[in-house]
Symmetry: D2
Subunit: 454 residues, 4 copies
């Protein structure tokens, strides 16, 4: 038997065996390169990348973290770049990797915190934004925005969520987008706009209502490209997540106050905003899930080190010899393994049937994985004691980031509902099968001369 | 794209896509045949097979259920027979199916209750017993016992668990097996001996202590073949599981009172009993798990029909429109999908590395699946109301059967412990990786001229 | 400090201290007598009472269990009789005990299985039926049925649940109750009629529709007294619960086929059936809950004995030294203590505000306690291994009985919904408070000269 | 019936009825005053108190929050002061309130965030420190430190937890405390020292090892009073909790570097440190628990407002009409009610039997309440969406604070273990009862002439 691929030390042998035969030689090789790069370059730079963000409440938002920029150059040189963009779906700009292949890489990146995806130009919200531009952008829009994004020269934001409004239902959106002559005028109050704080962010992709009276509630919305330095783009403040401001990117409150852009900044066409956001969400959700699994997996590794640390013995025993620690570890391992296979199968489903044909699988991944990862990380925090909650470990900030995933891109309840409803659609088929069965059962009872109570 | 394999309506499209390329053409064809046979023959006979067991407390233990015997003939004729016995591991008697391939079939069989595996001669404890005889039996033992078992002419019991003793630790076993001249004499008090009540059961494979003073506690045990009609084999009573006696097979209390068999009935050799039971358990656990998943999956289908039944509307709404029913359905679906992939990956691991190389994966399956299935079935029972608990639905007896799986072949706690301990063995490797990382981190901090708090 | 009341060894010192000062001297004394009687008479007879039920599928339904009848005589003589019937609510027939006082006794009775409440004439469904007759019966009805019930001479059934119908919504009931001259004619198909199998059961209290066209859907129902030997009362079969038939009482399927009774058998008046069942349910639910807590508490005690049993050591350790056993015990203890206090506070609420004023508290008890008790018993079953599931321990039948309580008298979901909706009714009051708060907050901010982001 | 006490709108009518008769008239009156003060003064100032903390990373640690100081004056004037210090245990300095009475007040204070307890001089760690000084301090120590603490003029820290060491096992502590002539010299590295950042904190109560070689590991420790401005007291940095620094109090890392204090600063005596910390923990844990319940209760109220907010409708429905929201609310209500009664019964147990006699009840409260409160707050966060995680709502910071309580004063696992072990101590008594029972059972079987399988 050939030597096992190095990925088995991060994923598991059993998971890898399920997908190995679906990997192209190119994908295997890229994965191996990524592992080396992750171990030798990305992970060692993680703590430094935090340390390079100043504490000062103003300066931290003006920072371009040096070590990340250095690593981006190296990564690009090695071809570890834009791995998320599948050539199958984006023939022009994409890389020859399937969603399944990238999913395995995304788990690895998820072990490296917030910075790892950035280093290989695979971080949200840029990924989704590049997909939008690649799929729906005009050549001119692509030249101006997509190319520098693909090159990692700029970053971008996606402005959809609104303050004072339940904008997870897109029909509630209030931001106004209207034409005035050759211009588009935008007025609205957004918040939770990730990345908008970053000095490298040059583009806001803004969703709003261009035709609020349209009877078809899914044709009221449009999407417009807004350069971040356009007059009227007012960044109010960063929203914090459990106390973290996530500088320099941040999740910002923004008021668009009579912002004016040329007509050519409209994406795809008037009233096609809903269509655009629909197309944007599928694979991105899977990436989030795989990164979450990576984060959980790294937390479990950290927990293993902690509970066997001789310096942390209490009452003469290692931590792992107390209470249910070993059982908690076993559960975390099982949870991670099960969740990973679920997400990989969803990624494969996307490869086979596009995101549209994988909505059930994506929905399942979306409500299963963040809760699972939160619990794994929480167990690790508990094993670390107070240290697990503080700035010296990655666990607490990881937890905070994961917690947002139970809300972002649709709260758990929406995905549970959607998956449950899809199950209910199986009922007609089940009824048919049941009728057939009862007919056969009755025939058998009749033949046997036995009466049934049913 | 070719028409999807019919299995996708029982498993899911996404699960199937993960394993389809690992199926041989023969396995795919056998699976398709099995589906047809399951739909047209097995499932329709399920309720009749229950009805053919008399209520009378004596006669129910003397019954050979007619419809099952009829179906066995049909199944054998179609080659749907002994599917569990992988040729790769049992070249002489096995069928050309991998554990992974059979696992998918086992899920289907698990939908058909207790009877389905019997119909295709794949039911416990015969499966494990055939494995023992095929692997360790002498030609003479095989001729006398294995051949009729493989033919489905007789059934068998495996007598290990003992009353008054914590026999899950095999070193606690008290049954005495000793040589007297050309004979072996057996004395012991067993219970929970599944299948011992069945009139077709002709063989007990009995585990006991032949050398209780041996310092190596794993060489004290021997295994002996005992014809069920040997004088001194006293079946005391059936043990019930949650009120079910599972007649005619049953789970019996047995006293072996000076039972004498010829020396040639010893299996493998004196003191090799522990080795035999170790080898017996791996794939069987996976079969149980896959059947449990099938049972859970069938329960979810039943729940779907119930909550959409217009006759069960309350307060003007279908059941599914109340409370958290849709969410419960979604959770059950997700739980089933995740668990299935876990067990399939364990089966693949067995195919790749034998049971010994798959202990972690088997352990995970063993503690995850029964609890998962119990919860899915419990949700379905709740949806059915009181009817869900009674004899008119399969749910309650399914629940009872699944509940035993949290205990049989090792209680949950043992598997959790085992898996957790295996994780702890990764610590030296993690420490090495961590040391490497810290070295690199420190170098980066030094180069950047920043001091760290860690 | 005086010696503690003997109840503290069954409930806890901390629980008892919360209610002791609410107990009358009579109640304390009665409780002490009940404890002695429970220890010396009831509990020792429990296993015998099971053994006195024949296995024969016919005879078991004709049995009056001798030991129970003997104990009833003794209990009555000691005044341990009808303890459930609070004089405060039933001045004529009641005993001078509050619901809170009886609740503590009910927990003790719940430790003694199904038989204990019978011995002191406090077992369902007789209790609720006596309440109905005491509250709504005519003097003649009371003389004929209530008196012998209060004397423990006969038993009774309450026939509400219907087959083929979602009868938890009483407006779905189909049984027809109509007047024909001086007679009432009843036609209907019921099931799950507890106690109807008992040879001592002489009375069915039947709910049906007398005015199905009434626009007020809560005035369509009437309740009629039906002697069990009336022609047309056809008991079809016992329904089983998880494999248990609960003979001789049973939970029966019954067809009322043109059953005729005199007009004087109508209870309370035409169209008042809904009112009757509403009044019937409050305290009874609390009794069930307290008994469930007693059952859970007894299961925990059994678990404690098992996990410290030296005969059950495995791998050189007591069971309690393995895995999470000690933690499971701690959780069970905490769950029991919390649940008990919840139910006691609900009982007190009934004493203070009648059942109507305690609907939230009753609802909470109803959805919290059965699930809690099931989990405690399940943990105990797991500690016992296979033995915990069988007829040699009370755990499995206890579990089965408890499982029905998540459905009987309204499934969990109904109570969750009801309690949640009651919480929502607090919103107007909360809004008022919030408005007041914001006003004050704004004044403070204004005074301090600070602007807020809210 | 008299008008209900105003507390029923914060606690519940049912909880209150359980304890009302245990309240003195003084306690009822004080509680009523506290409610008015909470509504009119404390709660309205909460947001302002946050706004008065500067963002500047240096200045925020030098701040004395003006509004809190103003409110302290008002509270003291009204006698709402030092309510935690029970006269029964502290005759000289205490207020005439029992632990039970204060517990109800602590819940109310817990609704008002971090600041509320401070306003009435009941905030940790001062409370425990005042108890230490009141119980163990010399008159001189009391005059110098206890009096200004009781007056709210200064604050204090308790320095026990150590970096690099598992100090939850006090025998692991490394800080050295040794005598040098008339002085005590302290060297050690602590962290998580709450309150140490506060400019008002003038006293550190430091625990260390004075006799590390003592065979009795519980006599190695001593406790010393250290003025915060003593040379060598080096505050290194604030530890963050889930991103929060909790300025100005903070949880600090401190190096005690050759700190010298006079001999008279020793508390109680050499080697009595363990005794001191033992006495310090009981009631304080209950206070934490009751405040946590208040926090959970306030979160549920906030959730109720959110899910009924018409501005947050999605897809045409209020939030509460979606999914399991109503059920989640019901569960949160039940969880809060059950937990409150548990903690109140623990408080009563302390009143009756001192903390030593209430260890089981305190332990239960300690592992039940924080997890319960975390879940209730988490459900509320989820209902609020992203807003629930940010600085505009109290939920996220509440969650972070509660999370520490699963670790502080002993992690969950320690309390679970302790409670479970106490349960195991009941086994001898249970065995005795069981033996008695079996004797009686056997007699009954013998008399009935029936043989048993057991």
């Amino acid at each position: 038997m050939a030597a096992p691929h190095p990925i088995v030390q991060y994923t598991s042998q059993a998971s890898w065996a399920m997908v190995e035969d679906k990997f192209s030689p190119f994908a295997k090789e890229t994965l191996a390169k990524l592992i080396t790069f992750y171990e030798e370059e990305i992970l060692p730079a993680r703590r430094l990348s935090h340390a390079q963000i100043p504490d000062d409440p103003v300066k931290r938002w003006q920072t371009v973290i040096p070590v990340i920029e250095e690593l981006k150059v190296k990564a690009k040189k090695q071809g570890l770049w834009n791995l998320f963009l599948s050539k199958a779906h984006y023939p022009e700009h994409g890389v020859p990797l399937t969603n399944l292949e990238y999913a395995v890489m995304a788990e690895l990146l998820g072990r490296g915190g917030h910075m790892a995806p950035q280093v290989v130009n695979c971080s949200a919200p840029d990924t989704g934004n590049m997909e939008v531009l690649a799929r729906y952008g005009t050549p001119e829009q692509q030249k101006k925005w997509l190319v520098p994004l693909l090159n990692g020269e700029i970053r971008s934001a996606f402005a959809m969520t609104e303050r004072y409004v339940a904008s997870s239902d897109a029909t509630n959106i209030r931001t106004s987008i209207r034409r005035e002559g050759d211009e588009i005028v935008i007025n609205g109050h957004k918040w939770w706009i990730s990345g908008a704080g970053d000095p490298r962010t040059k583009l806001h992709i803004v969703m709003g209502k261009s035709d609020p009276g349209n009877k078809n509630t899914h044709q009221q919305q449009s999407v417009v490209l807004v350069p971040s330095n356009t007059p009227g783009v007012n960044i109010i403040r960063p929203m914090k997540v459990m106390g973290y401001d996530d500088a320099p990117e941040g999740h910002c409150e923004i008021i668009y106050d009579n912002v004016r852009v040329p007509l050519s900044n409209l994406v795809l066409g008037w009233g096609r905003g809903f269509e655009i956001i629909q197309g944007r969400l599928g694979p991105g959700r899977i990436h989030h899930c795989m990164r979450s699994i990576g984060a959980a997996s790294a937390a479990l590794d950290a927990m293993l080190l902690r509970v066997t640390d001789p310096a942390k013995k209490t009452f003469g025993k290692h931590l792992y010899e107390h209470g249910s620690v070993v059982q908690d570890i076993a559960k975390s391992r099982a949870d991670i393994e099960g969740a990973r296979l679920l997400v990989l199968s969803a990624a494969l489903q996307i490869d086979n049937y596009q995101a549209k044909g994988a909505l059930k699988e994506i929905g399942i991944a979306k409500f299963v994985v963040p809760s699972m990862a939160l619990e794994v990380v929480d167990r690790a925090m508990q094993a670390f004691g107070a240290e697990g909650l503080c700035q010296d470990q990655e666990l607490a900030s990881t937890w905070a980031g994961l917690r947002t995933l139970r809300i972002a891109d649709g709260p758990d309840a929406v995905h549970l509902q959607q998956v449950g409803q899809r199950e209910l659609k199986r009922v007609p088929e089940l009824l048919k099968r049941k009728a057939e069965l009862v007919k056969r059962e009755n025939a058998l009872f009749a033949k046997a001369g036995i009466k049934s109570h049913l």
